[in-house]
């Protein structure tokens, strides 16, 4: 009977293609939007992920997310270093400054001032130059997408000069970093250089990066730091979650993406549901004949469910495939860099498509279920 169900389904090619198209389009829309949503949300914490050598972030206890950290007195660094379980701790500045380019144009940039001695938090993947060059006077490193943002259409060229806070900066390297939430260039310099590039503030250091000593976990040490200093200390993962939660609760991102994803679901459910329902209605006589010939309601239900799942599976496969092609094709576009379709998106969309076809199937099943087989004798 499974064969019969699938033959009935695929018999009318136009309707079958319509059904598949509805589910595939819905899948594409949902998978694409869910993936972009996850990618953008991850971007909000990308600079936390990029600091690979420190496991603990210490900051003012009122900080809500990574881009909103006030300065800390330098003495806080010493206090953190004095906490039991801290292997090492270094300072970090992270903030926005304005760069003035050679041609007089301005660009806002995301500046990182790294501990002069250890360069903890420095990028590891270089397109041009090297990390060692950062020790030169006025040296800065910029991320590759940021370079093209600052000097659009120009080839990568080390040694370019520009100004921040009226201080000369020399480009010594171009690196790859995770795409930030905004499109701002990500710049790295030494902490003592950053002092000159940032407009005067009483306290410059806004983060202390620390590593737990052997035998301690990041969470354990973070707790000790908080208890001992009154500052906020979070493991890397904890800070990622805090930052993402802030973006989810304080921006329109979830609502906007939620609307598009819901539209994808509704469109998919409407197209697939309506087409599948009409397909069943048009085949009522056939289903009636089968019931007359001794096919039970349960077997009919099985046939319809099989048809629904077949449509769902095929549509889902095509939709996911198209979505994967989209992300493959856009992998090198800066605005979409780092956004890809993960298993979470595939699973979530799979469940949504499952719901769509289950709804469509149940709606159709109900009509067939209550169908009197005697309908076959009515002209």
């Amino acid at each position: 009977m499974s064969w019969l169900a699938l033959k009935m389904l695929t018999g009318d090619r136009a309707k079958f293609v319509g059904l598949i198209f509805g589910v595939a389009f819905s899948t594409l829309l949902m998978a694409q939007q869910v993936s972009v949503f996850i990618g953008i949300v991850k971007r909000s914490a990308s600079q936390i992920y990029d600091v690979r050598d420190a496991d603990i972030w210490v900051m003012d206890n009122k900080v809500r997310f990574i881009d909103e950290a006030p300065g800390l007195p330098d003495s806080d660094l010493l206090r953190v270093r004095g906490v039991e379980g801290v292997d090492w701790a270094v300072k970090l500045y992270k903030g926005q400054v304005r760069a003035r380019l050679e041609d007089g144009n301005f660009r806002n940039v995301m500046l990182h001032g790294l501990d002069d001695a250890s360069l903890v938090g420095a990028p590891v993947d270089f397109v041009a130059g090297s990390l060692a060059d950062l020790r030169r006077p006025n040296a800065v490193i910029v991320d590759e997408n940021g370079y093209h943002y600052m000097w659009p259409g120009e080839p990568i060229q080390i040694g370019r000069e520009f100004e921040m806070n009226d201080r000369r900066a020399v480009l010594v390297g171009v690196c790859k970093v995770s795409a930030p939430f905004t499109t701002l260039p990500v710049l790295y310099t030494r902490y003592n250089e950053a002092r000159h590039y940032v407009p005067r503030e009483r306290n410059l250091m806004n983060f202390v990066l620390a590593k737990p000593a052997e035998g301690f976990t990041a969470d354990q040490v973070a707790e000790k730091i908080e208890a001992s200093t009154g500052l906020m200390a979070l493991s890397k993962e904890g800070f990622v979650v805090k930052t993402i939660k802030y973006f989810l609760s304080s921006t329109g991102i979830p609502v906007n993406f939620g609307i598009t994803i819901s539209l994808g679901f509704i469109v998919g459910a409407a197209v697939a549901g309506q087409t599948f329902y009409l397909f069943t209605i048009e085949n009522l006589k056939q289903f009636g004949s089968l019931k007359a010939m001794g096919v039970s309601n349960l077997r009919i239900a099985g046939m319809i469910l099989l048809q629904a799942w077949f449509v769902g599976l095929l549509g889902y496969g095509i939709g996911i495939g198209l979505s994967a092609l989209f992300f493959e094709a856009t992998a090198n576009i800066p605005h979409l860099a780092g956004i890809f379709m993960g298993w979470q998106a595939m699973t979530g969309v799979g469940l949504a498509v499952g719901m769509i076809v289950a709804l469509a199937g149940m709606l159709s099943m109900r009509r067939v279920w209550v169908l009197e087989p005697a309908v076959v004798f009515r002209g």
Partner: protein, 250 residues
């Protein structure tokens, strides 16, 4: 109400209806489709159920085939009282013992003639290959061996009805129920289909009931049940008809 039409033969009737009534709706919209129908249908012959539109033919055949429950009365088919049968027993009983031929053929458009004819066997759980082979044999018997791989859309109305007949016979049912099998066909095709019924469908252990209002095919019936206003008005045997003028019966 008429007395049950009993015959002097020792042959066990395939279908016995006693006092069968059927009403649809209730209150002011209540419709009496059948009013105490009594019939007996014998195997080994074609029985025709005739009458004007709305007289209850289709309702009666639906009840006899176990597709509709009577409001009142008893329905015995092949020795089983089907009006009291639970659905879980009635559905397989129908699949095993009753063959159907519909006015509009009701072939599955995506299946070939052979696959369509094999459907009752698939319903019965046969493997597809074996079922289609058997169906081809029956198609051969109805003269459609060369069109076994054709889709319904590639067949004429007469050919589609022959596929439907093959489908009704493929699982060797003991009761064949046909609803206006010639209504959608021209006169010649209708005659051919009825000849096919006489030649292929009629067997000693099989009863054939055909609902029709096509008086050109009345002569194929061994017995004719004339219906009017939900009642059996008259039952005619072949002998009785031979003595008549043939005005209304052929």
């Amino acid at each position: 109400m008429m007395e049950p039409n009993t015959t002097a033969t020792a042959i066990e009737p395939a279908v016995v209806c006693r006092g069968v009534s059927k009403t649809f709706g209730d209150g002011d919209s209540k419709v009496h489709a059948l009013r105490g129908v009594d019939i007996e249908v014998l195997p080994g012959a074609i029985s025709l159920l005739v009458g004007p539109s709305g007289c209850g033919k289709t309702t009666l055949i639906s009840i006899v085939a176990g597709l509709l429950d009577p409001t009142d009365g008893e329905v015995h088919v092949l020795g089983h009282r089907i009006d009291a049968m639970k659905s879980r027993h009635l559905v397989p009983f129908r699949g095993e013992n009753i063959g159907f031929v519909f006015q509009q053929y009701n072939l599955l458009p995506a299946l070939t003639a052979a696959e369509n004819a094999a459907v009752p066997l698939l319903v019965a759980g046969w493997r597809r290959g074996k079922a289609v082979r058997k169906a081809r044999e029956v198609l051969d018997a109805v003269g459609l061996a060369d069109r076994a791989n054709a889709l319904p859309s590639q067949l004429s109305g007469g050919q589609q009805q022959r596929v439907a007949i093959a489908r009704a016979l493929v699982h060797d049912p003991r009761l064949l129920v046909c609803d206006e099998p010639t209504a959608a066909l021209d006169a010649k095709s209708g005659q051919n289909v009825m000849e096919l019924f006489s030649r292929v469908a009629v067997q000693n252990d099989r009863a054939v009931i055909i609902v029709t209002h096509d008086n050109r095919v009345f002569h194929f019936g061994e017995r004719i049940f004339h219906m009017s206003d939900g009642r059996i008005e008259r039952v005619e045997g072949r002998g009785e008809r031979g003595a008549r003028s043939g005005e209304d019966i052929r």
